[in-house]
Symmetry: C2
Subunit: 444 residues, 2 copies
């Protein structure tokens, strides 16, 4: 084998395809019984849906190109009607992309976003630790920065909700440098939080997971499922990658698992201290994704878009996710960060009751009777242990960041965490796979 | 087997002995080829020394009791003569425990320590997340708190150096709540940073590691070396603990590895999300310990105690560690936190040159010619990956802290991180082992 790829998510599948197109022999070892990584197919009320990553937006050019290549159609996220925002005791229905926070907080919120974007413009997404103010930004949490830079409770609460929704983590746990770098990788903070013109703009007809399935189909028997990698040993001639199903020998290995999960592989020789230290400092965010199906999208009849963001619920934000055909209605939403952490270990029935109660708070009693319900508790999933992305706490990036992409002998790292753009997104995963294939391909 | 203990450090050995004294059948599985965990024997200029934990201080009653029981004598850390402090461009030789920072900074430093101790008095060491101000303290780094609570550069620098020395981590990466809880577990911040009256007061004749060796001797064949635990499976009747040497069956298992290392074991069924999430958020501090031997303790002739703490060096602090007999001189010192991270992956010769250069800056050219040199790069050691202790970043303790001690079915957790007092110290490890033995013993 020329290259052993660990992980059959978008990063691994992309790398494997690129290498095979270049005439290389590859195998993709996947721990799970399915491909897709942090994307996954589910079913709700007869519709196939994404239990993981689902959206695509402008600038996510690699994912859009892949969809085109694989013949997966897209359609716009539903945004007709009014969004609901309920922050700091003030509940408003509004239209458009700018959260209606009241005049003062709206101005301050714009100012805060502007400050983050000005910083993001100075932070290289590939190496945020080289930014001139990196040490200062990395020695504080987003929360500390927020308390110093936003005075109004509504601004603060809104930012906390948005960081939770975008990074699946709390402002109290994430490095402010990591937040700025995340924005830098997306071309700004606004693209992260926006539907129209942002990362939640467009959906895939049939789901994003399909593209992983199609890539795997393409690769055929080169993708080995249920093959959790336990050990990677390297010597002068190559690597030996060991699973319960046996060992594979290759000249190089590309590991696409996020650092915290990649750390659970046994490496011989042991990894450098900087890489191991990084893997101890890149926890995955916490997320639970929920789909709710109804006989019809009844909220539309109330003039609502389906989007709700609220500090009175633990579930949320949620969005209209109604199927294009058939007249059924559905919602998709999240427990992110703290709420995901608090709800992950509880019984499914309690979680479902909480979701329905939270939705009913805004959509009325009709919300209490869905025709179907599906969820994925990513944070509890033994092979993923979180999502959407790894969230560096303070101090991690400036001290250990360079180890994120630095190859270790014959081991190369990929995965959305290592992307030069759209870190944390499917698009970033694809970019990282392309990059790893290019680097390793150049060595073969 | 009644109980399988994972790890033959002070926690595991203590638990195993206590259980065996209670008539239980135990086995201790140790990944390394030696016992002692984060203590370890070394040799420098013919003297046996501690390459890991070495000191004991007042209040560390369990370690003092163990030393007495095992017949290990103690002697005071050498403190005659003047310490050197070199902070913020001001180099002073002084006597006693209070760092000589100049009048203003000395006052401010005392104020800062006082504030931490006042907070520590309100934080229960066993459950810091239940303190009334826990959320606020845990949403910021020590650095953020320091910038808001100390105005003078010398105070700030001194605190940074002390946190580094005490927690083997940077103020920029550790939760302020974790710092306060660490002080709470030690009965204050002053005991952490003091020699006389503090955690660096007393040494063990022949080394602290001996006590682990003696406990292991006591346990005889119940301690199995080179048996790295790969998997723990539990069912209704008991646990199966698998190593490369084979599997052990027991009714309960006590895992003493720090959370980040315990996460590298494969658990069936998978651990709850809260426990796994904790293990992603408890990185080990970074530390490299160095012993330097000289023909004689020549610094004493200059009226110096041997203690140097400086912001102009990366190595340090260092202490006199001269043997009690024979007239030789020796120093023991550390790279902690950032410096340990930066130096861990470099060649040993470069590290040695750096140490000698740093010491010579204060002790003169004579420091450049040691008769022997020994080091332990804990941060690079594949089975430890850091020390002295796990250092929670912001957000970890309040959200995931309860999982630190909560048993998971038949799995119980020990190790100094779980101690009710002296977390991070040998004394805490002993306490945690006693506690685990008591809890598990009560279940048998």
């Amino acid at each position: 084998m020329d290259v052993v790829v660990v992980g059959a998510g978008f990063a691994g599948l992309t790398a494997a395809r690129a290498l095979r197109r270049a005439g290389r022999k590859v195998v993709v070892l996947e721990a799970d019984g399915r491909v897709g990584g942090r994307t996954k197919a589910g079913r709700v009320a007869g519709e196939v849906v994404d239990l993981g990553g689902q959206w695509v937006g402008p600038g996510q050019t690699r994912l859009l190109a892949l969809a085109e290549e694989l013949g997966v159609a897209t359609y716009p996220q539903y945004v007709e009607g009014k969004n609901i925002i309920d922050v700091d005791g003030r509940r408003v229905a509004y239209e458009g992309e700018v959260p209606a926070l009241g005049p003062q907080a709206t101005a301050e919120f714009a100012e805060v976003v502007g400050k983050i974007e000005a910083l993001a413009a100075q932070v290289p997404a590939l190496a945020p630790w080289t930014a001139p103010m990196a040490a200062e930004l990395d020695s504080q949490t987003i929360e500390s920065w927020l308390l110093a830079n936003a005075r109004l409770p509504a601004t603060r609460t809104m930012m906390r909700l948005l960081v939770r929704a975008v990074m699946s983590a709390e402002t109290s746990e994430v490095s402010f440098l990591a937040c700025v770098a995340y924005a830098a990788a997306a071309g700004g903070f606004s693209p992260l939080i926006s539907t129209r013109g942002g990362a939640q703009e467009t959906l895939f007809d049939g789901g994003a997971w399909q593209m992983a399935a199609k890539m795997a189909q393409d690769l055929g028997p080169a993708v080995v499922l249920n093959a959790q990698v336990k050990a990677i040993a390297q010597d002068e001639a190559g690597v030996t990658v060991t699973t319960a199903q046996g060992a594979w020998r290759g000249r190089y290995v590309i590991v696409t698992a996020p650092p915290a999960m990649a750390a659970r592989i046994d490496y011989t020789p042991a990894l450098p201290a900087q890489r191991d230290g990084l893997s101890q400092r890149m926890p995955l965010g916490c997320v639970i994704k929920v789909h709710l199906a109804y006989a019809r999208p009844f909220w539309r009849e109330q003039g609502l878009s389906g989007l709700v963001i609220s500090d009175r619920t633990e579930f949320g934000p949620w969005f209209d996710h109604s199927p294009l055909k058939g007249g059924g209605g559905s919602l998709v939403g999240f427990f992110d960060g703290g709420p995901a952490q608090r709800w992950a270990d509880r019984p499914a029935a309690e979680r479902r009751a909480k979701v329905l109660k939270d939705v009913a708070l805004y959509f009325g009693e009709a919300a209490l009777s869905p025709v179907d319900y599906a969820e994925e508790v990513w944070t509890r999933a033994p092979l993923q242990r979180g999502g959407y992305v790894s969230v560096p706490p303070p101090g991690a990036l400036t001290a250990f960041g360079p180890a994120l992409r630095a190859s270790v002998g014959r081991i190369h790292w990929a995965g959305t965490e290592t992307a030069e753009a759209w870190t944390g997104y499917i698009d970033g995963a694809i970019r990282s796979g392309e990059h790893a294939a290019q680097v390793v391909g150049g060595l073969l």
